[in-house]
Point group: C2
Chain length 203, copies 2
């Protein structure tokens, strides 16, 4: 039996209206999802399967004024965004310390290095020296292509820029030196699989 609401519209479950039909190789399935959404979904999947414990850090905010309208609630009424001093994501995967930054670009031919902050690169360097595993995840959003860029390659291009070279990493360089990842259903982006293939290559 169909439920009819006062306005005469037929009841349709939210899940049926909000989403495209699920098709395994539908490149448009994740349309509208940000890279952050996709990575949060992937991390929730890894956690639920006991594969890894990786979280996005909260956005740093400087709180200036707080009102307490009653004992149980606090309302922040003046606050400012602060510049993050580290990368956005970190955690542990099978005893390994994982640390990465995720960036999207609409550019179709290269990733502009101005998307990275000096302190983030510095942080990744420190992590690398402590034998953690830093890397970047880059989404070319117009092309719907995803790459995992190991720290070693990233720092090479960063140093090239600082020595007066080009201020970006070309798509061709990503194709040659990064790990391309396909999107899937669970997880949305299997970046640990990408990372495992890279670590495997190293050993």
């Amino acid at each position: 039996m169909t439920i009819r609401y006062p306005n005469g519209k037929k009841y349709i479950p939210t899940s049926a209206t909000n989403k495209h039909p699920v098709m395994k190789h539908d490149a448009y399935r994740n349309r509208g999802q940000t890279l952050e959404d996709e990575l949060n979904d992937s991390n929730a999947f890894y956690l639920s399967r006991n594969i890894a414990v990786i979280h996005k850090k909260p956005v740093p905010i400087q709180v200036v004024k707080v009102n307490y309208p009653n004992r149980s609630a606090a309302v922040i009424t003046e606050a400012y965004y602060r510049t993050p001093s580290t990368t956005d994501y970190n955690g542990v995967w099978n005893g390994k310390y994982i640390d990465f930054e995720a960036k999207e670009t609409k550019n179709k031919t290269s990733f502009p290095l101005q998307n990275l902050h000096v302190h983030q690169v510095e942080h990744m360097k420190n992590v690398y020296e402590q034998q953690g595993i830093p890397f970047l995840i880059i989404r070319f959003s117009t092309l719907n292509r995803y790459f995992l860029l190991p720290y070693e390659t990233m720092i090479e291009k960063w140093d090239r820029m600082n020595e007066g070279g080009r201020k970006s990493i070309t798509l061709q360089e990503f194709e040659d030196e990064a790990i391309e990842m396909e999107t899937g259903f669970m997880p949305t982006i299997d970046y640990l699989k990408g990372l495992a293939s890279f670590i495997g290559k190293e050993g």
Copy 2:
């Protein structure tokens, strides 16, 4: 020559006015500093000496309204504190994933377990299963005593509570089963030394 400012006061460097004289065993030297301040100082020291890369995570805040008075500034005008889903501190130390929560208590005889949230304990369990190193740092602020409590001991007391036992960990239990840490100058709390002594015991 002494610099004199318009109000006639002698110039005194800030560092000389704000601090007590440095005495190695002065238990009151850190009076007024919160445990968070002390740990942030310790982490800054570890970072500066390339010993470890450990940061406090930002406090999670749900932003509801933002005003943009001009292009370069954003003012948050309505926001709320969210409950953290993980511990406050994590990072990497010589290839090891470090993850801990820090708590202060004014209680002189025990640490009440209600200071920990279920989801934080769950997070530490997940970290432990991924071969990370979770632990607690507890400051008995009235006694000015600091302990590092390994996850294994913490979860034993947590389970005891859930089986109907006592809802706290006694100071005696800390003395017997945790690692007591002294405060010093650089770093303020050398918790990695405490941790090393524990890991050494294990191996």
